[in-house]
Symmetry: C2
Subunit: 343 residues, 2 copies
């Protein structure tokens, strides 16, 4: 899965960082949400039905909130900047949801955000096409701002995301996938959109080049950390707690970091077990549990989280040269929040 | 199928219009083709492999040629305009091919341009994702020109195409589909890209508003005529000649004009026959032949071609106020060519 699920235990501290971000961006996010709603409209009923089912299904809207926060670090009360950031934020959320629709078809996922995936209700065909519609609307909204530089950032991100997804697909069940290749995949499929979200936010706010580059770096490292934590949670996180989606990556044959590291540490029989389960849609719970136990014994999920920690440190470092503000502090807390989810 | 196939008999006159267009745009199309080749490149091997397989598979590149022709009506020898038109032409071809990749997954097509569809070789998943990549690259190329007005035209077209495809999907096997609804579908899924292709070409050439609107209208009507003829050819055209792809629309349950008109003319038992075949992937050749015979008896394919003729007349009318040039005359011939394919 590419998104963390709501059913993962989060500590009070992490809730606070997210709650604070929600509160800090609320006024603008109301505008973003109206824009999202109006831009899913179509004379073809299936378009708003499917799009709104997904978009209104309780995603946290982290990416558009980051866009708004990064814009408002520079433009509190600047009307024009504000409007642009709202358009960019909605575009980022549309791009994200378009990716989710296509991902669910590619991964043959049945659930998304604790509800049946759109493809289960409307079919794969509609999911592909409504994804295309959302991508088109995302570009249209960006174009309407007239900001060519921001457009370059977001359209570049769109190709990098797709490229990363193809790379991930090409590596399915490839047990020779390297850590470096995994890193390239998550930097493309996940970090690229976080990076674009923060960068175009800062651009909309009128930030100078050095500041929007810094916020882009923050977004990129935050996105990388997020994906690493997600990939750890897919094997139950540090505590090895099994949830609804645990084992999805294993059953889909995804070469995420936990599996790459596990294969490195495994002896012959452990390797055989992992390989037999990899990509087996019908892999039994007891096999999954065995693999998770092995991962815990070898502290593999801790190693994955350590990688995430490195990115969180880099993300926070990237904020250092930016002017002091409560939003800047909040972005630092959001980076920490991302790690706490793993425990 | 959304594209005419090479195996349809074309008269010498039609070949000439197409040959002339190829010749008239050759110098620029060489640049377009290099750009296309370089922009399918990626560190992920599967991307250029799949993309080039499709793009180099003998499509006529009609849309990008139209873009180039419309630009050159205004800018013979204007370097900057020329460069833009090359980027727009490549972007238009990428958008078209992205649509084809997704269409083939949606329609579960096995063949495309007389070769196995990309999805048969690389799978549905790769086809979806490489389609997304091409769409991203299309936007990136347009953004690189810095032309916001043209970007608006092409991103608007992208959403309209997707919307049209969803509408078509929603109407599958819906025997109450009206002629008006069919018209909206083909204006969206096909005519919108032809319209964008000609309009942004003219824009790149520096045409005034009235001229690029006229060429947009030309493109739109040409695209509509094209799709009508394609839809007639799917039932063997006016002569009822059965080819490789004949009956695809029927088997996919597509409510194209021949079926809508046939249902209107059919008596109870004929209606029953058509409905039983509609959407039946395994519909036998003899049933298809019966339906085509009925269509010929009722002159249904002639009626479809008459609709196409109306659009060709409108397309040629749209050219009237443009400055005289050999390219303008050629565009008129191209419109006629589109009709001749039906015979």
């Amino acid at each position: 899965m590419q998104e963390y699920s709501d059913n993962n235990k989060t500590s009070k501290a992490t809730d606070n960082a997210l709650e604070k971000l929600i509160k800090a961006t609320k006024a603008d996010m109301d505008e973003v949400n109206s824009l999202i709603l109006s831009r899913t409209n179509s004379h073809v009923d299936m378009v708003p039905e499917l799009a709104q089912y997904l978009i209104q299904s309780g995603g946290k809207r982290l990416r558009p909130m980051l866009t708004i926060a990064c814009a408002n670090m520079f433009t509190q009360n600047q009307k024009m900047g504000l409007k642009k950031s709202v358009y960019f934020a909605a575009a980022v959320e549309f791009m994200h949801n378009a990716t989710l629709l296509h991902d669910d078809v590619v991964d043959e996922s049945n659930m998304r955000r604790n509800k049946p995936a759109a493809r289960i209700i409307w079919g794969n065909q509609a999911s592909i096409l409504v994804g295309d519609f959302l991508l088109g609307q995302a570009f249209l909204m960006m174009v309407e701002t007239g900001d060519i530089e921001a457009l370059k950032v977001l359209s570049k991100a769109a190709t990098i995301i797709a490229e990363g997804e193809v790379f991930q697909l090409a590596k399915i069940k490839d047990i020779n996938t390297s850590v470096k290749e995994y890193d390239l995949i998550i930097r493309s499929k996940t970090a690229a959109l976080f990076e674009a979200a923060t960068k175009v936010g800062a651009m909309a706010g009128g930030a100078d080049v050095s500041s929007y580059q810094s916020l882009g770096l923050y977004g990129s490292e935050l996105g990388r950390a997020f994906q690493l934590v997600d990939d750890a949670l897919d094997y139950g996180g540090v505590k090895g707690v099994l949830g609804k989606n645990t084992g999805d990556d294993l059953r889909e044959g995804k070469m995420s970091l936990p599996i790459i590291l596990a294969l490195k540490k495994a002896n012959r029989s452990e390797k055989k077990l992992i390989i037999s389960a990899l990509g087996d849609q019908n892999c039994k719970e007891e096999i999954l549990e065995k693999i998770i136990k092995f991962m815990q014994k070898e502290q593999i999920l801790q190693s994955v989280i350590k990688e995430a920690e490195k990115s969180v440190i880099k993300a926070k470092d990237a904020l250092k040269n930016l002017p002091a503000s409560s939003l800047k502090n909040l972005l630092g807390e959001v980076a920490d929040f991302c790690l706490l989810r793993a425990y």
